[in-house]
């Protein structure tokens, strides 16, 4: 079912299975038929762990969305709330429970906190007088979700905002906990490297937790030999730049959420012969994107400019495969051909889908606006005229382009110039306020608070040094047959990737100067392996685990 998770160098299905097992165990604790009331935010991440069929096997008959008022009626024995530990949700649950009791008294209530139970929330339920109504109050530790064969994600989109704007490090605590779970399943990771305040904090918590868990030392041979923790604020530039890989562009344009993308339906209408395309579907087309799909696995990380060629090559292979049937003479050959048919048909429909998506994207990437925007981004990244008001940005504001685009560009300029001159900054800010409304003064304040936007304090701009030392800009990026990571942004090599590369070889000692320029401390920790595992380890292949806090930059 989730075979693609086991293809990578690390079998992430172990993690997924552990998560599923725990879910099943909880569901079985509540004997009888069940209805789940969902904190809507959780449905996406849960989809990566368990489909409805699993829930159904355990007598889940109804699913509702958590909202205030009365619960919808359902003939079930148990009502289970799946919620994040948030006070406002507790109030809703309390209301649900209050309204409910008057109608049926025989239903049992349960709460499953995701990812962790909270004393504060239980206290709140107690204050509301409903804590006693719950038979089971449990936690479902869902920190690191296996997202793809080579990717774990916390699907915690507000983490950057919480850490840097609100100084709330809950997400870091969950990160540390998640990494502990990971180590429990895949062995203690002997080396930890990191850069940035939050990374330091996560590492500290991990070491602390290791002390807490002392004694239950696991005897698993480490699968990972290095863990690298990177703060998002070490590399603010990368998420500001427009992604240029196939998957990146799908995300830029349509947004990928929990592994799914919603696309405009027109391109995907089934064109059946002799049927007028009267009723085009109006619902957006929802597609799951992961490496389980062979073609997608092949092209997802290609620069978009190389996707066309890959698709047409694939098309040729598939039609050649279909042509094979003419060569099939003997019964045996025909039988073999037929047995391959389902696979080939799947490949063909996958090809059709991605060709449609590529066409949709191409319409946008070939537009002048896209090109102009990219040109400005690349100018900033190469350090051209980053210290004055940019005419393109000015014009874009005058044209009332989407605010997010403006903010991305302005922030990028600020990052590439180590802050903007007060005059330039004020000019941009005034333009934004006058055009998009005064309420954005809060948006701008927030951006300044997290450092995405800042006035220049010293005349020295570190960015060029960093760019040169880490080779962030490669003039001759090869988009078709890449030999360097800079192909993903057609020239720009993401800073975080460069840090990872340098760490692997020759080591961070060679870039001490640059590391000092980047915010936060850099560090190295070693975790003692349980005795007895040392000797065995030598024969193992080494495998690094990069764990960057890839936090999205949500503005506002």
């Amino acid at each position: 079912m989730a075979a693609h998770l086991s293809y990578g160098r690390v079998n992430l299905n172990i993690l997924r299975e552990a998560a599923r097992k725990e879910l099943r165990e909880f569901l079985d604790k509540c004997a009888g038929s069940k209805a789940i009331v969902w904190d809507e935010y959780l449905t996406g991440p849960f989809g990566l762990i368990a489909q409805y069929s699993l829930l159904k096997e355990h007598e889940v008959e109804k699913m509702f969305t958590l909202k205030s008022g009365r619960l919808p009626s359902a003939e079930v024995k148990n009502i289970i709330f799946f919620v994040r530990p948030r006070l406002e949700l507790m109030d809703i649950i309390a209301e649900n429970v209050f309204r409910e009791d008057k109608l049926h008294s025989s239903r049992d209530f349960h709460i499953l906190f995701v990812p962790r139970r909270s004393l504060l929330c239980e206290q709140r339920l107690k204050e509301q007088g409903v804590l006693g109504s719950f038979i089971n109050i449990d936690e479902y530790i869902l920190d690191l979700i296996p997202y793809d064969g080579d990717l774990l994600s916390m699907e915690y989109e507000s983490a950057f905002r919480e850490c840097y704007l609100e100084n709330d490090q809950t997400s870091l605590y969950h990160t540390a906990k998640g990494l502990m779970t990971l180590q429990a399943l895949y062995g203690t990771i002997p080396q930890i490297y990191g850069k940035g305040e939050c990374a330091r904090h996560v590492a500290n918590m991990m070491l602390r937790m290791k002390r807490e868990f002392a004694g239950s030392q696991n005897q698993i041979l480490p699968v990972f030999d290095t863990l690298l923790l990177l703060d998002r604020n070490v590399d603010l530039l990368t998420p500001l730049a427009t992604q240029l890989t196939y998957e990146g562009l799908i995300d830029e344009i349509y947004g990928i959420s929990n592994g799914y993308v919603k696309l405009p339906p027109e391109k995907f209408a089934q064109k059946k012969q002799g049927e007028a395309s009267k009723d085009l579907p109006t619902e957006p087309k929802k597609l799951q994107l992961n490496s389980a799909e062979e073609l997608y696995a092949e092209i997802r990380d290609k620069n978009f400019n190389a996707v066309g060629a890959a698709l047409s090559k694939k098309a040729k292979i598939i039609s050649a495969a279909f042509e094979e049937r003419h060569n099939a003479k003997t019964v045996g050959e025909i039988k073999q051909f037929v047995s391959q048919l389902p696979h080939m048909q799947a490949a063909r429909s996958s090809l059709a889908n991605h060709t449609s998506i590529a066409e949709l994207i191409k319409d946008i990437t070939t537009s002048e606006a896209f090109f102009d925007n990219l040109t400005v981004e690349q100018e900033f990244m190469t350090g051209v005229d980053t210290d004055k008001v940019n005419i393109y940005i000015e014009d874009s504001i005058a044209q009332k382009d989407p605010l997010i685009k403006i903010l991305r560009l302005v922030c990028m300029q600020s990052v590439c110039n180590n802050g903007l001159k007060q005059k330039v900054l004020d000019y941009y800010k005034r333009e934004i306020l006058q055009t998009y409304g005064y309420e954005h003064i809060l948006t701008l304040n927030n951006l300044e608070k997290v450092g995405l936007l800042k006035p220049q304090t010293s005349s020295r701009n570190n960015y060029p040094t960093i760019r040169k030392t880490l080779k962030l800009w490669m003039e001759d990026a090869n988009e078709q047959n890449p030999n360097d990571i800079s192909y993903v942004y057609s020239g720009y090599a993401p800073l975080s990737i460069r840090l990872t590369q340098v760490l692997a070889r020759p080591g961070w000692r060679s870039i001490e100067e640059v590391l000092k320029m980047l915010p936060g401390p850099h560090f190295e920790e070693r975790q003692q392996l349980p005795a007895g595992l040392h000797k065995k380890r030598k024969d193992q292949y080494s495998l690094g685990l990069l764990f960057a806090l890839l936090l999205t930059t949500q503005n506002k």
Binding site: L87, L120, E166, D168, Y173, M205, L442
Partner: protein, 834 residues
């Protein structure tokens, strides 16, 4: 080795032996006479209370506690009321049942732990007799009172008193009684004259032991076996009836020819017993009565106490302690004279081998011919485990080891574990430790319990050595010992907090599974709060640390520990606690010193208590956040005047925060709002809340050019943006004349290409053309292309000799523009030459 069988006595098919365990270390002035004695099974401790002067108030009886080997552990004068019965709990605590029904619990070292009562009515009626018993539920107590009523408590740690129904015709105490545990129920079996009753929770049933001869008389003594499975009844005519305790089957009936009631009667069995027996003790005689009607008689000189064990009976006298048990079958096989059992032959073979005699080979051959060598080794190993004498153990194990050499695929596990276990057993049997455990008992009680019991006795060193020796994982072994040790250490009143904390830390260190908070809680219980805090410092798990700190009212410390842990939920918990405990000022001050907690609390306030948020910012003089707060608040406000006054507050705060830009921007916003209201009032324009740009746009759309112009000047809108705005607006309204006029009003800051593009967007090529001549030379080609004038574009491009521009024109050409293409190609070639 004939001497091994010297103390064997045949009983039916089996043999019984009496092994000396200890020469007792104590010196008892009056022996065991006239004393209440309680000795715990499994080689547990012995408690003694002299009865002689019990009733005299002037001399208090002495309560003494000894190890099983007679080493004094504690001794103190008994100051409470008269004691009816002593007994030990499963966790080595001493129970003293008093006449008034109260039960006092002491630990091994004689310090009082707690007490409870067996019921109010007992105070009046008094306890006549009491029994302490053990069941799967723990340690229980049963009493019979002066009013002939029984009361039971099955588990003293979870005290539930049950008063059993009345027994018909019972006056005073019954002639004898026992507590039975059957089918998860605890019952009392009692005899009153000729009658025998079973007493359970609800009823009292008269019963009759099957097959008891009618002439046997009335039952005067009874005993139930260690496992509660068998029952022995002694009648006043000297008949001993044995059978199952459910009174369904009879084993035997023996006439002991003794009509006096024995002082003690105890079952002597072992698991897989061949010949179970009952041991009866009179003043000068010990009689072992097998169910086969055979008896063995031992004379005794001194008053003794019998202690029933799982696999025998311990006999404690004032001088010696002996173990009476049925000789295990395997030992019989090996040591029985002229035994031909494989184990016996192997032992013999090894003995010859040691003497370098070739007979060794003969014996071995004999065993191997029967392919019994494996069995022989197994027998020797098993027999060793049952032997108490270390030299016998050694010779058996050596023989086993010798035999093992001739076996290729023998699993050594049992041999190895038996060697290890025997070593441990020999260590705890040492007189100084005094736990005379047999191997069978040890297996039954488990190593965990043995370690616990060593720990109760404070043999920490030995316990730890055993853990290391048996390689028990730390968190099951050493850590548990250290935990006990530390909990005990913190109670030492003569040491300073500092030195105890240091000692604990040095010993416990980072031992896995030792909870410092558990130790700290102990210290806190003993009233040593300071010590508890010092110890909590070592606790790694904040989840454990913080609640205890709160309980000890060290909320500040709890807060900083919670913050350290990184667990925000914990921080919130402490913050909520503090909020309720402290006055607001102190609370804010506390938070101020903990930035992490403060920002979390701010988040909480943002969602739950907006007003508190304001107070927080105020207290911190955080003008910037305060200003932001006012701005946010202004958007929640419907009435414009309130909104403006909130914005004014924001301006003030931004000024205080020296954020000139924001202050200015806010003032502008206020100005804009007033302007919008004025126009809305005057013209109903619906402007309120729009951005400046949108306002100008709306004004232009409404044709209010003058007002738009005014805003443009008042708010110093950059020319470029204003021109774009006006250009688009005029084009949208198709006011072409107006547009042309505007284009001439001054030199366009956005150039003229924009005019062309906007006109083309409105599909007005005619108007667009008007501006082509005005564009800068660089934009000429683009301008021509915009209006699809390829000729013009070509001309311009060729004139400018710009290759990329010519290329751009070419890319727009189709086959119908053959001439143009040729011209361009020529020009390109020419330009390239230069």
């Amino acid at each position: 080795m004939a001497f091994i069988t010297a103390n064997w006595n045949p009983l039916g098919e089996a043999f019984y032996r009496k092994t000396e365990l200890y020469e007792m270390c104590w010196t008892l002035r009056d022996g065991l006479r006239d004393s209440l004695v309680a000795a715990a099974p499994y080689g547990g401790p012995i408690a003694l209370l002299r009865e002689s002067h019990r009733r005299s108030p002037s001399s208090r009886p002495q309560l003494e506690i000894y190890s099983a080997s007679g080493v004094a552990i504690a001794s103190f004068p008994w100051k409470s009321g008269p004691v009816v019965q002593l007994g030990w709990t499963v966790s080595d605590e001493l129970l003293c049942v008093q006449e008034d029904g109260s039960v006092l619990i002491y630990d091994l070292f004689g310090s009082f732990k707690r007490h409870f009562s067996m019921g109010q009515e007992v105070v009046q009626s008094q306890v006549l007799e009491a029994k302490v018993f053990h069941s799967p539920y723990g340690t229980g107590i049963a009493i019979v009172t002066g009013s002939s009523r029984f009361t039971l408590a099955t588990n003293i740690d979870d005290l539930k008193l049950r008063r059993l129904p009345e027994v018909p015709g019972l006056q005073g105490k019954p002639s004898c009684w026992v507590v039975l545990t059957q089918d998860r129920q605890t019952k009392v079996l009692l005899s009153n004259g000729p009658e025998l009753y079973i007493l359970d929770n609800t009823s009292c049933t008269a019963v009759c032991p099957p097959g008891l001869s009618p002439q046997a008389g009335s039952i005067v003594h009874m005993s139930v076996s260690f496992s509660y499975k068998y029952l022995a009844l002694f009648t006043d005519t000297g008949h001993l009836w044995t059978g199952s305790s459910d009174l369904q089957d009879k084993l035997s009936e023996v006439d002991t020819k003794k009509t006096t009631t024995p002082k003690q009667m105890v079952w002597c069995r072992r698991p897989k017993s061949q010949q179970p027996s009952v041991v009866l003790m009179w003043d000068r005689l010990l009689m072992v009565t097998g169910v086969c009607n055979d008896t063995i008689q031992f004379p005794i000189e001194d008053p003794c106490v019998l202690v029933g064990e799982l696999d025998g009976v311990r006999i404690i006298s004032s001088v010696y302690q002996e173990l009476l048990q049925e000789v295990p079958l395997v030992c019989q096989d090996i040591f029985k004279i002229a035994s031909m059992a494989p184990g016996a032959l192997l032992l013999e073979a090894h003995r010859e081998y040691e003497k370098s005699s070739q007979k060794a080979d003969e014996y071995l051959r004999e065993i191997k011919e029967q392919s019994m060598l494996g069995e022989a080794v197994r027998q020797c190993v098993e027999a060793a485990s049952h032997e108490y004498d270390t030299s016998t153990q050694k010779s058996l194990l050596r023989a086993a080891s010798f035999g093992k050499c001739f076996l290729t695929d023998f699993n050594p596990d049992v041999f190895v574990s038996t060697c290890r276990e025997l070593r441990v057993l020999n260590a705890v049997r040492e007189s100084s430790v005094g736990m005379p455990l047999t191997h069978t008992q040890f297996k039954q009680m488990t190593l965990q319990v043995l370690i616990d019991r060593l720990v109760y006795r404070q043999f920490y060193q030995l316990a730890i050595e055993i853990c290391h020796y048996l390689k028990i994982p730390d968190y099951q072994g050493v850590s548990r010992v250290l935990k006990h040790w530390a909990s005990c250490k913190v109670q030492q009143k003569d040491l300073s907090d500092e030195s105890i904390a240091r000692a604990v830390c040095v010993k416990v260190g980072d031992s896995p599974g030792v909870s410092y908070s558990h130790i700290a809680a102990k210290a806190y219980e003993c009233g040593r709060t300071e010590l508890a805090i010092k110890l909590l410092d070592f606790e790694a798990r904040a989840g454990e640390q913080v609640p205890l700190l709160l309980k000890m009212k060290r909320s500040q410390l709890a807060l900083s520990k919670a913050v350290e842990s990184g667990d925000t939920d914990l921080v919130y918990t402490v913050v909520t606690y503090l909020k309720n405990e402290m006055n607001r000022g102190d609370f804010f001050m506390t938070l101020r010193n903990q930035p992490v907690a403060l920002s979390l609390y701010r988040q909480f306030c943002k969602l739950q208590e907006q007003d508190t948020l304001k107070d927080l910012y105020n207290q911190d003089d955080d003008h910037h956040e305060l200003a932001n707060y006012y701005v946010t608040a202004s958007y929640r406000e419907k009435r414009l005047d309130t909104r403006l006054s909130l914005l004014q507050s924001a301006v003030d705060e931004y000024n205080k925060a020296k954020n000139e830009f924001a202050a200015k921007a806010t003032e502008d916003e206020m100005r804009l709002l007033r302007f919008q209201r004025k126009l809305d009032d005057e013209k109903g324009a619906g402007l309120l809340g729009l951005s400046l740009q949108a306002t100008m746009e709306a004004l232009l759309a409404l044709g209010l050019h003058k007002q738009a112009e005014q805003l443009y000047r008042d708010f110093r809108v950059p020319d470029k943006r204003y021109w774009w705005l006006k250009l688009k607006s005029l084009a949208e309204k198709e006011e072409w004349e107006e547009l042309e006029k505007f284009s001439r009003s001054k030199k366009s800051p956005i150039g003229y290409l924009a005019f062309i593009e906007v006109c083309m967007k409105c599909n007005n090529k005619y108007e667009a053309k008007k501006y082509v001549s005005k564009v800068t030379p660089e934009q000429k080609v683009k301008a021509h292309l915009a209006i699809s004038d390829l000729e013009g574009a070509a001309d311009a491009a060729i004139e400018r000799r710009n290759d990329s521009e010519m290329g751009a024109v070419l890319s727009r050409c189709s086959a119908s523009h053959q001439l143009l293409i040729e011209r361009l190609n020529r020009a390109r070639a020419a330009a390239a030459k230069k």
